[in-house]
C-alpha cells in the first residue's frame, strides 16, 4: 500500500496543477451559477448578495423578449442541426466511391479547409459575397432578375444564409468521422451484394448506411447537446438590426444584456437554464440510444 502511494507521488506532481485548473475555471463557475437565485451586486459579490429564490426565472419566463429569444435559439439551432445533418454523410459516402486517389485527396483538402477559418473570416466572406451594392451573388441575381435583393436584410434569406454558411464551414470536416466509420465496413459485404446483382444504390442502402448507423446515432446524441446553443461568433457577426426579430439568440442576449448591461443575475439564470436543458437533452438522447444498444455510455 505504501509502495502504491509512493508510486503515485510523481503522478500527483503532474496532476495537481490540472486539478487546480479544473476547480478554479470549471467548478468554481459552476457554483458561481448560484447568482441565478440571487440579486447580484458588485459590492456584496457572489457569496453575500441577497437571495431572491426563483424571481429571476419568473421574470425570464414572463418577459416576451426572453421568450422570443429562447424560441429564436431553438428555431436556428434545430434548423442548423436537421438541415445540416445529412451533408457530411452524403459527402463521406460519395468520397468513399471515388477510386482515383489524387481526386479524393484534392477534394478532401478543399472541403476540410473552411473548418479552420474563424467565423469572422467566414462571415466576412458571406457579407462581401451577398453585399447588395457590389456583391458577387447580388450581381448574378441582378443580371437574372433585373433588381437587387437585400439577402442579409430579409428574415427568410437571412436564415437560409445562416444555415448554409454553417454547412459550408463544417460539413467537410464532419465527414472525416463518417469516412473513418466507412473504412471499417467489411468489403466482402459489397462483393456479396454485387454478386446478388445489387445496384450501387441498393448497396449504399443495404450495406453502407447500416454500417454507418452507430456513428450516425453517436453524432446525433452529440448534436442534441447543442440544441440550446447557437455559436456566438456566427450569429453575432451575421446579425443586423433589420433581422433582429429572428437573429437575437441566448448567447448574444447574455453578452449584450448581461455583460454590457450588467444584468448579471437575470442572464446567469438564462445561462443556467440553457446548460440544464442541454444536459437533459443529452441524457435523454443517450437513454434512447442505449435502449437500442448504441448508447454513448
Amino acid at each position: 500500500m505504501i509502495r502504491l502511494w509512493r508510486r503515485n507521488i510523481p503522478l500527483y506532481m503532474m496532476f495537481v496543477p490540472v486539478i487546480i485548473f479544473f476547480i478554479l475555471f470549471k467548478y468554481v463557475p459552476m457554483f458561481g451559477a448560484v447568482i441565478a437565485f440571487k440579486k447580484y451586486n458588485f459590492a456584496d459579490g457572489i457569496l453575500h448578495s441577497p437571495w431572491v429564490g426563483w424571481d429571476n426565472f419568473k421574470l425570464l419566463f414572463s418577459t416576451p423578449t426572453t421568450l422570443q429569444i429562447i424560441r429564436n435559439t431553438l428555431v436556428i439551432s434545430l434548423l442548423s442541426i436537421f438541415v445540416g445533418f445529412p451533408f457530411p454523410i452524403m459527402l463521406a459516402i460519395m468520397l468513399n466511391e471515388v477510386r482515383r486517389m489524387w481526386f479524393k485527396k484534392v477534394v478532401q483538402t478543399l472541403v476540410y479547409l473552411p473548418h479552420f477559418f474563424s467565423w469572422i473570416i467566414v462571415s466576412g466572406i458571406v457579407i462581401t459575397v451577398f453585399s447588395q451594392q457590389n456583391g458577387l451573388v447580388s450581381g448574378v441575381w441582378e443580371s437574372l432578375t433585373g433588381s437587387t435583393y437585400p439577402f442579409l436584410y430579409r428574415e427568410g434569406s437571412w436564415l437560409a444564409i445562416f444555415v448554409g454558411s454553417g454547412i459550408w464551414k463544417e460539413a467537410g470536416f464532419s465527414a472525416i468521422i463518417y469516412l473513418a466509420a466507412l473504412t471499417s465496413i467489411d468489403t466482402t459485404l459489397y462483393e456479396a451484394a454485387s454478386m446478388d446483382g445489387a445496384s450501387r444504390w441498393r448497396q449504399i442502402w443495404h450495406v453502407t448506411l447500416p454500417g454507418l448507423r452507430l456513428t450516425i446515432v453517436l453524432m446525433f446524441i452529440l448534436s442534441m447537446g447543442r440544441v440550446m446553443e447557437v455559436g456566438f461568433d456566427q450569429v453575432y457577426m451575421l446579425q443586423n438590426s433589420t433581422v433582429s426579430n429572428i437573429s437575437e439568440v441566448i448567447s448574444t442576449y447574455i453578452y449584450k444584456i448581461g455583460l454590457m448591461g450588467s444584468q448579471f443575475s437575470l442572464t446567469a439564470a438564462l445561462g443556467l437554464f440553457e446548460s440544464l436543458v442541454s444536459l437533459i437533452l443529452v441524457l435523454i438522447a443517450n437513454g434512447i440510444a442505449r435502449r437500442y444498444g448504441n448508447g454513448l455510455w
Binding site: 502504491l4 502511494w5 508510486r7 510523481p10 503522478l11 503532474m14 496532476f15 490540472v18 486539478i19 485548473f21 479544473f22 475555471f25 470549471k26 467548478y27 468554481v28 463557475p29 459552476m30 458561481g32 447568482i35 459579490g45 459527402l91 460519395m94 477534394v107 478543399l110 472541403v111 479547409l113 479552420f116 477559418f117 474563424s118 467565423w119 473570416i121 462571415s123 466576412g124 466572406i125 457579407i127 462581401t128 459575397v129 447588395q132 451594392q133 457590389n134 467537410g172 472525416i176 473513418a180 445496384s199 450501387r200 444504390w201 447537446g225 461568433d233 453575432y236 447574455i254 455583460l259 448579471f264 442572464t267 446567469a268 445561462g271 443556467l272 440553457e274 446548460s275 444536459l279 443529452v282
Partner: protein, 292 residues
Amino acid sequence: MKPSFGEKIYLLAVYLVLAVAGLLCLLPLVHIASVSSSSLQAVASGHVTFYPIGFSLDAYKQLIEGTPIMRSFLNSVQITVFGVIFSMLFTILAAYPLTRSYFIGRRTYTFGIVFTMLFGGGLIPTYLTIRSLELINTYWSLWLPGLVSVFNLLVLRTFMENIPTEVDEASRIDGCGEWRYLLRIVLPLSTPVLATLALFYGVGYWNAFFNVLMFINEPAKFNLAVLVQQMIQSQTMLSQMNAASGSSEQIMLTPEMVNAAAIIIMVLPMMAVYPFLQRHFVKGVMIGAVKG
C-alpha cells in the same frame, strides 16, 4: 467485371458533385483575394469575380498604414504561441496520469473532467470568476479558461493507452521514473497526435474572438479577429447608411477592399501550415471518434 452504363453515369455524377463541392469551398476565398488585389474602379463596378482586374495592392497599403493591423497581427501571434505551449503542457500533464492503471482516483478524476464537457456554469459566472481573479485585460484571461480542452485530452489519453505495455515493463526494469518514461518514451511515440492537438489549439487561439471581446477592453491588445470584426461591422453600417440615403457615391477606397485584404492576412498563416498538418489531423479526429 466491367461497369455497366448505369454505373458509369452514377460514378460520373459522384465525381461531378464532389468537384463542385470542392470548388464551392475554394472559390469564395479566391473571390476575396481577387477583390483585395483589384483596382478600385473594378471593385466598385462589381466586375471582379475570381481573378483580379487591374491588379493593385493599394488595399493592403491602406490596411497597413491606416489601421493597427500589424499590432493586432503580433498580438494574435503572441496569444497563439503562448496559448499552444500552455495548453499542450497541461493536456499532457492531465492525460498521462489518467492512463496509469495504478493512479489513485483515476475514475473519479475522469468523471469529474468529462462532466465539465456536459455541464457548465455558463458565461456570466465564468466572466465573474475571471474578473475576481483580476485577469481582465490580460492575455491570461484568454489562456486560462480554455487551458485544457476535454475533447483533446480524451484523444491524447486514448492514444497513450494504446502504447504497448511491453514498452512500459521493459523501461521499468531499467529503473525508469515516471517523468523520464513520459519524456523519453511516451511523448516521442505520441508525436503525430501531439502535432494534431497543437494544430487544434493553435487554430482555436488564432481564431479566438468571443473571449477577446469579453475579457479584453483595451484596443491596443485586440487580436486580428476582433479588429477584422470591427472593420466589417463598420462597413455594414456604412452600406446600410448608403442604402438608406440612396446615395451611390463611394467613399475613396471601398472599405470592402480593405476588409478583403484583412481577411486574406488573417487566413494566410493558416493556409501556410495547413498542408503540412492535414494528414495528421485526419488521424487525430479518427482517434477521437473511436473513443469520444
